[in-house]
């Protein structure tokens, strides 16, 4: 296995041991990205100069005797995170051409740990979507089947990691935007507890829900990235001021003594038979690995979508007001400032962003605020309470990360059918819980030439990242799903 396909942990060890240099890794990865990215579309922009400069710094630090947990590890940064001196677009026309003058805390912490920023990865515009099709700036294809979506909104970061164009990626998850694409692309996607990772420099979608998290090919790699990023940031007043336990370095070999809750309301019978079978097998594997499966109930889980589609748009309508053509980004001239605003925003935002701004503005507007926004906030309380009750009976919850494997482009033309893609991930987001998706099997839908991965979602109580990752690590080692198939892009394309 070449260095580009090693795990982050192995690569960082090799670079730290000076078996190879970060600069060599960076050059090799940039070459591969040059070959494969045009087809895959994972990156909106390749940050070659930043990558080379970062690699040089890593090599200097290693030469000076430092050891870095992510030394020389190629990183895909979702393009809603600022990296000083790079185009940062949120996949929106309204920010096309904007150069971020500062760096997001999470990105900076990864760079400090030795990561090499290869490029800015595609996403649904402003992270609003579940397929990456809402990007205004490019198409990202699923490495497993290029006629299918990679999922979203962190589709570019996930496709980069799955397609070998980065070893690790940063995504952001508001209602499932890390977990769902990770499931679609057969990688690990991890959303920490809300507030664990600083949002400073993450272009806000819904501030009370947005959370940055790692994307990786193994649970261990995800843990390494999380360990590098997590922890209080004075620049983000909502970042948690809690000690972060290191999660990498797992001490658990099985799941004996672990109670895993299966949610009664997530009825597998509603899924396609082959998909349901994969999830039943996954639950059985958890039991085989020693876990005690217990039935839990989330009576309000069905209200998650409605709650989310009020709270997230309401916050977004306010967060996206700043894109007004005055200080940065796109401006479409108008006779007066008001006309300029309206023309700029009409031209700069895509349809999904407009829909959410409209619904959110409506939900906050006079006469509707209590009926919509406040009621949704109360529903959010009930949903969080449901989880708290469920966790009295179990240590983690297992559930589908998505209702189906990756779907073909243009399969979801109606917005609501796209919203339903997040049915399984939204409740955890509303409750702020740490949750991840780990590969759990494959299905081959009619018309697909190749098996497509599915992801198992695991969720633990607030702040329990360490047990979450250790459970996932046991499951991953105990099932080895990722070893069964590789995305065709890795085997068919030379490089």
């Amino acid at each position: 296995m070449g260095p580009l396909d090693r795990s982050a942990a192995a690569l960082a060890r090799a670079v730290s041991a000076r078996e190879l240099t970060a600069s060599e890794v960076a050059e090799a990865m940039l070459t591969r990205v040059g070959e494969r990215n045009p087809a895959l579309g994972a990156y909106l922009s390749v940050t070659a100069e930043h990558a080379r400069a970062a690699a040089r710094r890593v090599d200097e630090r290693i030469a000076a005797g430092e050891s870095l947990p992510l030394a020389g590890v190629p990183l895909a940064v979702k393009d809603n995170m600022c990296l000083a001196g790079t185009r940062t677009t949120a996949a929106s026309r309204i920010l096309e051409g904007w150069i971020a003058p500062y760096t997001a805390t999470a990105v900076q912490r990864c760079l400090d740990a030795g990561a090499i920023p290869i490029g800015k990865a595609n996403l649904d515009e402003f992270a609003m979507g579940s397929s990456c099709e809402n990007s205004a700036l490019g198409i990202t294809r699923n490495p497993w089947d290029q006629t299918r979506v990679p999922g979203g909104s962190s589709g570019g970061s996930v496709a980069a990691v799955a397609g070998g164009l980065a070893t690790i990626g940063l995504g952001s998850d508001t209602g499932g935007s890390i977990r769902e694409p990770a499931a679609f692309c057969g990688v690990v996607g991890f959303k920490p507890t809300y507030g664990r990772v600083s949002r400073y420099g993450l272009i806000a979608f819904a501030s009370s829900l947005d959370q940055i998290g790692p994307i990786a090919r193994t649970v261990e790699d995800a843990a390494l990235v999380y360990d590098a990023m997590a922890g209080k940031d004075p620049a983000d007043a909502t970042s948690l001021d809690l000690a972060v336990e290191a999660t990498a370095g797992f001490d658990r070999d099985d799941l004996r003594g672990v109670r895993i809750g299966i949610v009664a309301e997530f009825d597998l019978a509603r899924l396609e038979d082959d998909v349901a079978a994969v999830y039943r097998a996954a639950y059985a594997d958890l039991a085989r690995l020693g876990a005690e499966l217990v039935d839990v109930s989330l009576p309000t889980a069905d209200y998650g979508l409605a709650t989310y589609y009020l709270i997230a748009p309401a916050e977004c309508s306010s967060n996206l007001a700043r894109f007004d053509g005055v200080r940065y980004g796109l401006r479409v001239e108008g006779d007066d400032v008001g006309a300029m605003y309206e023309a700029t925003r009409a031209a700069g935002f895509g349809p999904e962003v407009k829909r959410r701004i409209l619904i959110g503005t409506h939900a906050l507007s006079s006469g509707y605020y209590d009926a919509y926004y406040v009621r949704a906030q109360k529903a959010r309380t009930l949903i969080a309470n449901d989880f708290a009750r469920a966790f009295e009976r179990c240590d983690a919850i297992a559930s589908p990360a998505a209702a189906s494997p990756a779907f073909p482009f243009n399969a979801k033309s109606d917005p609501y059918s796209m919203y339903l893609m997040d049915y399984y991930t939204i409740p955890m987001s509303l409750a702020g819980l740490p949750a991840l998706s780990v590969p759990c099997g494959y299905v081959t839908p009619p018309g697909s030439a190749h098996p497509l991965p599915l992801g198992l979602a695991l969720t633990t109580p607030l702040f329990a990242e360490r047990s979450l990752l250790s459970f996932a690590h046991v499951y991953e080692r105990g099932t080895m799903h990722a070893e069964r198939y590789a995305p065709p892009v890795l085997t068919e394309v030379p490089g």
């Binding site: 007004d324 008001g338 309380t381």
Partner: protein, 98 residues
């Protein structure tokens, strides 16, 4: 819920989005459909429930009153759609004065 009707033009005005007639029709229908789904929330017993603004409550997260470096003006103005001298420039602001 009060209604599943949404006055798209009014909302678009508040949000400073110019919409074509086609967009008004399309988004109007799509958002009314969403509001039908959202109306499900009425079934939840929320009367005595505390609203959650932030899922993990914290208090008094503040900073000391100290100065940190500002951005260089040239960098800031270089990103502006239109600058004039040391200022950002915008088209005329419709005066409130009659």
């Amino acid at each position: 819920m009060s209604s599943t009707n949404i006055d798209i033009r009014h909302v678009a005005k508040l949000a400073r989005l110019a919409l074509s007639d086609d967009e008004v029709a399309l988004y109007g229908a799509q958002l009314e459909n969403l509001l039908v789904h959202v109306a499900e929330l009425e079934k939840l017993p929320t009367a005595d429930v505390v609203a959650t603004a932030q899922v993990i409550p914290s208090r008094n997260v503040e900073r000391d009153d100290v100065n940190t470096p500002s951005l260089p003006r040239a960098l800031v103005l270089a990103g502006a759609p239109q600058a004039e001298g040391v200022y950002f420039r915008v088209p005329r602001i419709i005066a409130e004065e009659g």
